[in-house]
């Protein structure tokens, strides 16, 4: 029986209140204000801009190291230095090579890791601050609402359906059942972060994939309060080497914030061969390195989080405009994977989208014909400038670090061309090698003081969901989990999920997938890394998810 949904119409609908979505909203609101003030007719309204945010609060789902290049923020909010919550400017950039027992600092920090002029920030705090500016400009931000489904419209999108609320575990309406809204908009902007669920739908339906599919890494982060004097604020280090093998693409980070707070973590490309590799365990192991354990000694874990990040680069960016739709930020893979910088690119992409939408609204034409202006703007901006230079960077590491350094070195002196241009890449899950009956590794336990098991860590992510709701992780064929996947890959979901959501439980004669959806931290790793691509991450009831406040 078709559900009766309340219909609402907006000029612009932005799905996701992260740095990209909010930059789009704020820039567009500013453009509209100036336009109206100039006496132009017909007037446009900032109140017809809707932003949807699935988190409980603005910033609740924002996770990043983070080091921010301020150039985009400077354009968006010229006096940002006075009011933006930037924790500390970077004072020292170190590149470290870890072996099991020692660390070596590169005498000259390689340029990609040199962060002079940038700021160490809490992305969550920044987003919260931006949100206040956006609301002050009259834009409607709806917290605790997610985009569940796209309203497709021939070659493009006409809007979004928000998630149904008040359904019980079995999908039956409860007392407070409120069906999702049919939100139609002239332009819908997908700003869902890495591996957005609506973006995934759109890319598949309209075949927007570039020559390379989008590929991802996983970032696992902890925020610690440490003993005074251990690390100066603004000290920024990136580590390579132990405990990751030379075949793995990834590394650690350590950022010193003010008040003896430290952001640290590990990023690993989701393209590794061993399907039972455990990124969370690798991160915990990395913390036992003397450099890190010394830093954390006597300290206290404050918060934990995990999120995927789009590593694919320029050739993996999907076409980002359709009739009535634009893709911005991490959803569109706007990330410089060499420098690990995405915040300013996300913001710039949002601003360019805003300028595009502004033109489209003025000319009352929101078709792809007008919206392709977005792609042109990107090509003429520093987004292309920065990303073009590293367009083959990530792909160079396909065969390991050594190859990667050589190839990327060559790319460096050939403006990014290197030996082969474009370098192709495959989706990460294709890298898995079958387990061939090898025994499963022992699960990491943690000592409870320096290192933690996933359940303890996930508790510190503050994640919670309405308990009585349908499971938001849709696995299209559970039989595969019990049979093929168990034999061929040893059920990697148990290992790659940083939130202990997936577990294979023994039942009399078989094993069965058990999903603890309430632990989900919305990182999207499962959607990305499952070898059969049968896991679909969908939006749970709004408000659910992690609480990365202050992260």
């Amino acid at each position: 029986m078709p559900i009766e949904r309340e219909q609402l119409e907006a000029d612009v609908l932005i799905v996701g209140a992260g740095p990209a979505g909010l930059s789009c909203a704020l820039h567009l609101a500013n453009l509209i204000k100036k336009y109206n003030a100039s006496g132009a007719k017909p007037e446009l309204s900032t109140e017809n801009i809707y932003v949807l945010e699935k988190g409980r609060e603005l910033g609740a789902h924002q996770l990043s190291g983070a080091i921010m290049n301020p150039k985009a923020l400077a354009e968006l909010v010229p006096d940002f230095e006075k009011s933006a919550p930037l924790d500390t400017p970077v004072t020292d950039s170190a590149a470290l090579l870890f072996t099991q027992r020692s660390s070596y600092r590169f005498p000259i920090t390689p340029p990609p890791f040199n962060n002079k002029g940038n700021y160490v920030i809490s992305l969550s705090k920044l987003v919260k601050w931006m949100g206040a500016l956006v609301e002050a400009a009259g834009v409607n931000i709806f917290k605790e609402f997610g985009g569940a489904e796209l309203i497709h419209d021939r070659m493009g999108i006409a809007g979004v359906i928000t998630e149904d609320k008040g359904l019980d575990k079995n999908g039956k309406p409860k007392d407070n059942y409120t069906p999702g809204y049919e939100l139609r908009a002239k332009v819908t902007v997908l700003a869902e972060g890495p591996r957005g669920s609506l973006t995934k739908q759109l890319v598949a339906k309209q075949k927007l994939d570039n020559i390379n599919p989008q590929t991802y890494g996983i970032g696992i982060k902890e925020l610690w309060d440490v003993q005074p004097g251990k690390i100066p604020p603004g000290y920024v280090a990136h580590t390579l080497g132990w405990p990751l093998s030379s075949k793995m693409y990834g590394g650690g980070w350590i950022y010193g914030l003010s008040n003896n707070r430290v952001s640290l973590g590990l990023v690993i490309a989701l393209e590794y061969a061993d399907p039972r590799f455990d990124p969370h365990a690798a991160f915990q192991t990395w913390k036992t390195h003397p450099f890190v354990s010394d830093l954390l000694h006597g300290g206290k874990l404050v918060r934990y989080g995990a999120k995927s990040l789009p590593y694919g680069g320029w050739y993996a960016m999907p076409r980002n405009y359709v009739d009535g739709g634009l893709i911005i930020g991490d959803s569109g893979s706007f990330l410089d994977s060499q420098r690990l910088k995405g915040v300013h690119l996300a913001m710039k992409s949002g601003m360019l989208a805003a300028e595009t939408i502004f033109e489209a609204l003025k000319s009352a034409d929101t078709s792809a014909k007008t919206l392709r202006l977005y792609q042109d703007k990107i090509s003429n901006s520093y987004i292309k400038e920065e990303m073009w230079k590293v367009r083959n960077f990530h792909q160079s590491f396909h065969n390991g670090l050594l190859d990667g350094f050589v190839l990327s070195g060559l790319q460096q002196i050939t403006g990014g061309h290197g030996i082969v241009d474009p370098m192709h890449a495959e989706p990460g899950y294709k890298a898995y090698q079958q387990t061939h009956g090898r025994p499963a590794p022992e699960r990491f336990k943690g000592d409870g003081k320096l290192t933690f098991d996933r359940l303890t860590d996930v508790y510190h992510s503050g994640t919670r969901h309405e308990e009585d709701q349908p499971c938001h992780l849709k696995v299209s064929d559970l039989n595969i989990c019990s049979t093929r996947c168990a034999e061929e890959y040893g059920n990697p979901c148990q290992y790659f999920c940083p939130a202990a959501v997936y577990e294979m439980a023994k039942e009399s004669d078989r094993i069965r997938l058990k999903i603890s959806a309430a632990n989900c931290v919305h990182c999207k790793t499962c959607d990305i890394a499952d070898p059969y691509q049968i896991i679909d991450w969908t939006v749970p009831e709004g408000g659910g998810g992690p609480n990365y406040e202050g992260m």
Binding site: R56, F142, T162, N176, T178, R303, R464, N547
Partner: protein
């Protein structure tokens, strides 16, 4: 029916608590509507749907509590009153109730609702004290409200599975039991409409209430376990016997 609902904004349930003296560090944590109060609000909204009228929400605290008032407005409350007080966390139950009573002052209402207690202080006295200060009849731990002919028939919860019905005139003050209804979601239209609804701000000072405290929280702390775990050894039967003996004579819980 004109209904006033007192709502408290409390630290989010999962917020890491950083204790400083007799309160906690408020920076870097989230705040939310006190869950027991959300049931009171829901009850008020249902009564309004049934009998017509208006729902006013009242909240005491620093500027940030306006967010919680807005959430109540988004769910369907008609207007809000914010009593501004940066030092709210230090008020004792009687002081807080006196301030609320003064703010309610000249409001005309049929019913004043509160939740049972707050998730932070957990005093559980506000509703009862308000009734005393406003000289109104009251009842607590209310599960059901039936309004007919200007008075109410209430179902009140007692211990051990007992309940009682009470007849109560209007106007009155009721403390609502938690979990008695399924709290509604704010709708998109509700959120947008909330932007246009009035939130009156009164400062606590302007009310001229004497809030000299009758009690003081000297400090709060995480209770530490002073004992080490005592392991009881032997066969299961022996260990069980030892345990029961310990529970009876040492811990004295059975």
């Amino acid at each position: 029916m004109n209904i006033i609902v007192c709502i408290k904004q409390v630290p989010a349930k999962d917020a890491p608590l950083s204790i400083t003296g007799n309160w906690i560090k408020e920076s870097d944590i989230g705040f939310e509507m006190n869950e027991p109060d959300s049931y009171a609000l829901e009850e008020a909204l249902r009564l309004k749907e049934k009998h017509g009228g208006q729902v006013t929400v009242l909240s005491l605290g620093p500027e940030r509590v306006k967010q919680t008032v807005k959430e109540a407005l988004a769910k369907g409350a008609d207007r809000g009153i914010h009593v501004a007080d940066d030092n709210f966390a230090q008020l004792d139950p009687l002081g807080a109730a006196k301030v609320l009573a003064a703010a309610i002052g000249k409001e005309q209402f049929d019913l004043l609702l509160t939740g049972l207690q707050s998730d932070d202080h957990g005093f559980g006295q506000t509703g009862v004290l308000l009734a005393g200060l406003l000289n109104l009849p009251h009842a607590t731990i209310i599960m059901q409200i039936d309004v007919q002919d200007g008075k109410m028939k209430l179902k009140r919860e007692l211990e051990a599975g007992w309940f009682q019905r009470i007849e109560c005139p209007l106007p009155a003050v009721l403390s609502i039991q938690s979990g008695i209804n399924k709290v509604r979601y704010a709708t998109l239209k509700g959120i947008m409409a909330a932007k246009k609804k009035e939130i009156a701000t009164i400062t606590r000072e302007s009310l001229g209430v004497n809030v000299d405290p009758t009690q003081k929280i000297e400090k709060i702390y995480v209770p530490t376990k002073t004992k080490k775990t005592e392991f009881l050894t032997g066969t299961p039967k022996e260990a069980a016997a030892k345990l029961v003996e310990k529970l009876k004579f040492e811990a004295r819980v059975i």
